[in-house]
């Protein structure tokens, strides 16, 4: 077992994931420093979502380790051996690793305020009144304080995603994972969500974001990782990877993206 590094907040070490015979992740290692925004780009099917979902163990890695600070995620010492934690055991760890989904997954039977406050109430045992205050403050951050009483279906996609971001913030996580937060949105709604994410990056939140918004990744992310075929092909400062990619595969991917968005 490797020991946690000093500077990294989150460390992914030699992550492998197989679905049956299909090897989807072939040894991913990466680090996220405190306050850093990391962007994960790559072609469809390259394993970006799988990688993200392995970080909070929504998918169980086939092998490898995830460290949050000096805490090993998803596995626990049982005698001398490591074993997988159950979902119940994992709840406190997942609370520290928020996730924003492509399709939001708000809870339709709860109004916006309850959507945001449920995590604090249940997972943190926060009194309802305090949780509502927290929820309202987080909704303020995503500029939706005035929608607190609305139900998710009464909101536009962009607003729903911003509520999902407020929900993630309310769990007071150390890291926030975004899986293509804007790709299910109508083009005219993408901007409002990206604006909120940009504000979070400027606040110094620690985030990993899978995205197809290459220009956004270049402007907002500190570093970019390019994945292809379950491997990291290239990583570095965002401007460098996107403006001057070293690898041919990165170049051709970025070229295709440029054509698509043109």
């Amino acid at each position: 077992m490797s020991s946690p590094s000093d500077t990294a907040l989150l460390r992914v070490h030699e992550l492998h994931k197989n679905y049956g015979d299909l090897e989807v992740l072939k040894g991913i290692s990466l680090e996220l420093k405190p306050g850093e925004t990391l962007s994960l780009i790559g072609p469809s099917g390259s394993g970006k979502s799988t990688c993200l979902r392995c970080i909070n163990y929504l998918e169980k890695p086939t092998s490898g380790e995830i460290w949050l600070g000096d805490e090993l995620i998803g596995q626990v010492k049982d005698g001398k051996r490591l074993r997988l934690m159950s979902d119940r055991e994992m709840a406190p760890q997942r609370r520290e690793i928020a996730m924003v989904f492509q399709l939001f997954y708000l809870w339709p039977h709860l109004n916006v305020r309850d959507n945001v406050a449920l995590g604090p109430i249940k997972a943190q045992g926060m009194p309802r009144k305090q949780a509502y205050e927290l929820a309202d403050a987080m909704l303020e951050k995503v500029h939706l304080r005035h929608k607190a009483e609305a139900y998710p279906e009464q909101l536009s996609g962009g607003q729903q995603q911003r509520v999902a971001i407020a929900r993630a913030l309310a769990q007071q996580p150390k890291v926030i994972l975004f899986d293509e937060p804007t790709s299910a949105l109508d083009p005219e709604l993408v901007g409002e969500v990206l604006a909120v994410i940009r504000e979070l990056a400027e606040e110094g939140r620690s985030m990993i974001m899978v995205t197809h918004e290459v220009r956004f990744a270049r402007d907002v992310a500190d570093r970019v990782i390019f994945m292809d075929g379950g491997r990291i092909v290239e990583q570095g400062p965002s401007a460098q990877v996107i403006d001057n990619p070293r690898h041919e595969r990165t170049r051709s991917f970025l070229g295709r993206m440029a054509v698509e968005s043109a």
Binding site: R88, M90, A91, R94, L103, Y105, H109, A123, E153, A168
Partner: protein, 227 residues
């Protein structure tokens, strides 16, 4: 035709009182049966959802079995065969258990269908927020799933209520047995069974209607419910 209905005023008070007594037992019997079906059905649904293959197989086997056996055969077995194995049940309890066993197969399918109708993202977002699986179930999954389950559960109850009339054949003093008793005394079976049909209708029809109303309402979306 007129003379047919002229019989009613004469016997009305006697019949009505006795049928009402029977109807009360039918209501209790079917509610007890439904309660058993609900508990057992929930266990079966849970078993079908569990990661254990053995549990899953057992649950499916039980459900298929319960669907294949005619209710009357089940009731007769519980009432007449169990005593030879040293377990004697009253007609009422043999009936309630028979209705519960067979009803549980339907309830289990309803519960499972209701749970399956939710997108798996609902549970994922709940546990990703730090909820335990139990909290995710009680706060996120169940409140949504129950909306879809309620109409078919009401229908399942109505089926159990109607099926409970078979318990007359194992000497449960419910509505149908009361009717048969009156019919054989009065020699007016047509009159009695018409009345009994009405009794069942009066209980079952509003429930069917309610089920339908709920179904329409839930499928229209939540806005109409929460204002």
């Amino acid at each position: 035709m007129i003379s047919f209905f002229q019989q009613y005023p004469e016997y009305w008070s006697d019949w009505f009182a006795r049928l009402l007594l029977g109807a009360r037992v039918s209501a209790e019997l079917s509610l007890t049966g439904f309660a058993l079906a609900a508990v057992l059905g929930a266990l079966l649904a849970w078993a079908m959802k569990s990661p254990s293959v053995l549990l899953k197989r057992l649950a499916v086997f039980f459900i298929q079995g319960m669907r294949a056996v005619p209710l009357l055969a089940l009731l007769l077995a519980l009432y007449f065969t169990l005593p030879s194995l040293g377990l004697t049940l009253s007609g009422y309890w043999a009936g309630a258990i028979g209705l519960g066993l067979q009803g549980s197969a339907y309830v289990a399918e309803i519960l499972r269908g209701g749970l399956d109708s939710l997108h798996r993202g609902q549970r994922e977002s709940a546990i990703a927020t730090g909820l335990t699986p139990l909290q995710a179930f009680t706060s996120v999954i169940f409140p949504q799933a129950i909306r879809g389950m309620l109409p078919p559960l009401l229908n399942a109850y109505v089926s159990i209520l109607k099926d409970s009339s078979l318990c007359a054949l194992i000497a449960t003093d419910e509505l149908m047995l009361a009717a048969r008793a009156i019919a054989s005394e009065s020699f007016l079976p047509m009159h009695i069974f018409l009345l009994v049909g009405l009794f069942y209708f009066v209980i079952a029809f509003p429930l069917s209607l309610l089920s339908r109303v709920l179904e329409v309402r839930f499928s229209r979306g939540r806005k109409t419910i929460r204002g």
